[in-house]
Symmetry: C2
Subunit: 389 residues, 2 copies
């Protein structure tokens, strides 16, 4: 299959590229490196040094017959995007290429606007380029479980049958997103559903939970050359990765608010398997299909406690502290998101275990001297002060 | 009350400004005249010549003690917007300032992107400027009934109580918008709901039907100086206005598709009353309130037949023809939008009658020589050809 991976330099994009190349697919990566710029704005470095994309691809291609191609460019540049589409003619597009940080989108007006402009317009350009060049392509769009918020009813997969006043219809699940970033994904999904409906395009929208983990089979082959960026900071860091970094620094694990908020999550290796399952099972033309992509869910307190008890097995004595929540969100809530679609298509979830956490702790330990404790603090408050507007 | 009217030069913005000034409010208009640019792109002129905003305001202010102020500028220019907000400190903001044409948004990629960029970013800038300058202001945002599409259940006012698997929640009504323009309004509403939820702002979102009509009490005082732009074209024209123009030209009334599609509509004078009712009954802080703003709904065929039978009373013998639908939409559908909120707050609807249509026909007759029959044709097809992408 010819697979175009947009955002193919990222935490998930790069491992996805290697994984799907290894399965014999023809892979073409596009990235604009916006994440590098944002890292610099906040003085962030990922924990491990990573090779440049150019180096990684060169080394990868020297070691395997399953070559990876790439072009540097931006979805906001329609001429560029269209050129790639015309040249590569993909069967499948995996779209990771969005500003991915909720805190960044809440930092101030400029960054909220950038997030929605970048994500919504990049995605619109993609829809028009698909319509023009390859209307039968299978678009796999990365969304997030956070788009749904925490409604008081079960969270279905993208669509819900509503019975109302004696009639019924299947409609998009009403969402209650928690940041301007999450909102940008909701806008994208609405635009894509429309394009499927009127232009007969097809899409799988993956509403993904929080991803944890460092290695994949391909990264394990040559960690120094192939590792992916690992963030533990307040902008790009995901929660389990940050807790592990705090533990290794012998710092308290900082839980936002009461910690009774629940999050769906999954192992990075399951992200790759979920995306692969989507590629192998395309929806029919005209279908806007949504999968909720997570394998487990827990409260923040439960996650912190699991990291702490895992650490205890190898001599760490950390504790959890609940700090003022920088986000504005419901802390006590019902939570029951469904994830049956990917399971029914064959996903065999890796469960988060002490063993898995200990494995990650040991990786982080190797790079302990790189850890910057300043980055553990919440970088952004949802309730802006006037200066930041 | 100090009322800021964004988009105060438009078909509805200008009559709203005069109407609310006459009620003793202090009015400040902002407009960027983007509609004039778009008119030129399609060779469109409104039926009646209108004075410039500068002339209209000057004449208005010379005749009344209820003065109107204005500034020319763009919501995309945050410094400008913020300056107006700091200077005027409104109690209420009426936000009409968006690219308002569904066909325009479907013309090609560039215009789809412009529509979403302009509307979403302008509205985001407004939310941040409100948060900074006047977090207690009452934002009245113009949306459209077309955001809902045509679900197979009753259309509630913005929110719906969903019972699902034995639990229930009140969530945003799931929408199925019919163009990139309608989608931009859905995105706006989602962004505003979030801002109300986390920043305690307050908003009334008016999901308005198709507006018809030419005159208001204020316009009637001095039609040549105070009339508002009347469009009958395929970009900005609304359906009843276009049917009347076709009748006056002795042309067939062109109905898109089967004509069984239903639309909610209202008289321009009722738009003013609805907006006034909203200004006088603000929601509480933190509330995102939605009113469906229409007084009647009919199928396109019924509307065409009413215009034809009205014309017959004064000697016209028009007929209706059903042409290929340039839009992609359901033509046969259930339709039951609710509009009880504005009625319960005291709206006394003007009903569309033969008398009202004949009044409008006579206005259009006076300017018959200005009518450009080329503009009756649908300007844009929803199913783009490759050239336009």
């Amino acid at each position: 299959m010819k697979i175009l991976i947009l955002g193919g330099d990222g935490y998930l994009g790069w491992p996805t590229a290697m994984y799907l190349a290894e399965k014999g697919n023809e892979i073409f990566i596009v990235d604009n490196f916006i994440k590098k710029k944002i890292e610099s704005e906040f003085g962030i470095k990922p924990l491990f040094p990573t090779k440049t994309l150019q180096e990684r691809v060169k080394i990868w291609n020297s070691q395997t017959k399953n070559k990876i191609k790439f072009e540097i460019g931006d979805l906001l540049n329609y001429r560029f995007l269209n050129g790639v589409m015309e040249q590569f003619k993909p069967n499948c597009i995996i779209h990771y290429a969005e500003q991915p940080s909720a805190p960044y989108s809440m930092a101030n007006r400029e960054r909220a606007v950038f997030t929605q402009y970048n994500n919504v317009v990049g995605n619109l350009n993609l829809l028009f380029s698909i319509k023009k060049n390859c209307p039968e392509v299978h678009l796999i769009k990365l969304g997030t479980l956070g788009e749904y918020g925490t409604p008081n009813i079960d969270i279905e997969e993208g669509w819900i049958k509503i019975n109302h006043n004696g009639r019924s219809d299947r409609l998009l699940f009403p969402k209650k997103p928690g940041s301007f970033y999450h909102l940008s994904k909701v806008h994208d999904s609405a635009n894509i559903e429309f394009a499927c409906r009127i232009w007969n395009l097809r899409c799988t929208d993956l509403n993904q939970g929080v991803v944890y983990g460092i290695t994949t089979e391909e990264i394990n082959k040559d960690f120094e050359n192939f590792c992916t960026s690992f963030h533990y900071d307040g902008i790009f860091g995901t929660i389990i990765n940050r807790f592990i970094a705090q533990l290794v620094c012998k710092k308290d694990l900082t839980v936002y608010g009461k910690g009774t908020q629940k999050r769906g999550f999954l192992n990075i290796m399951d992200t790759l398997k979920c995306v692969e399952i989507a590629t192998l099972n395309p929806p029919k033309l005209g279908e806007f299909r949504v999968f909720n992509q997570f394998t487990e869910f827990s409260s923040l307190n439960e996650l912190a406690n699991l990291v702490i008890s895992s650490g205890e097995e190898i001599g760490y004595h950390a504790k959890k502290i609940n700090i003022v929540n920088p986000r504005i969100e419901m802390e006590e809530h019902y939570y029951n998101p469904k994830n049956t679609s990917l399971l029914s298509l064959g996903l065999k979830p890796l469960k988060l275990s002490k063993k898995e956490i200990i494995k990650n702790i040991k990786f982080v330990e190797k790079y302990k001297s790189n850890l910057n404790e300043d980055l553990f603090k919440p970088a952004i408050k949802w309730d802006l002060n006037e200066k930041s507007i």
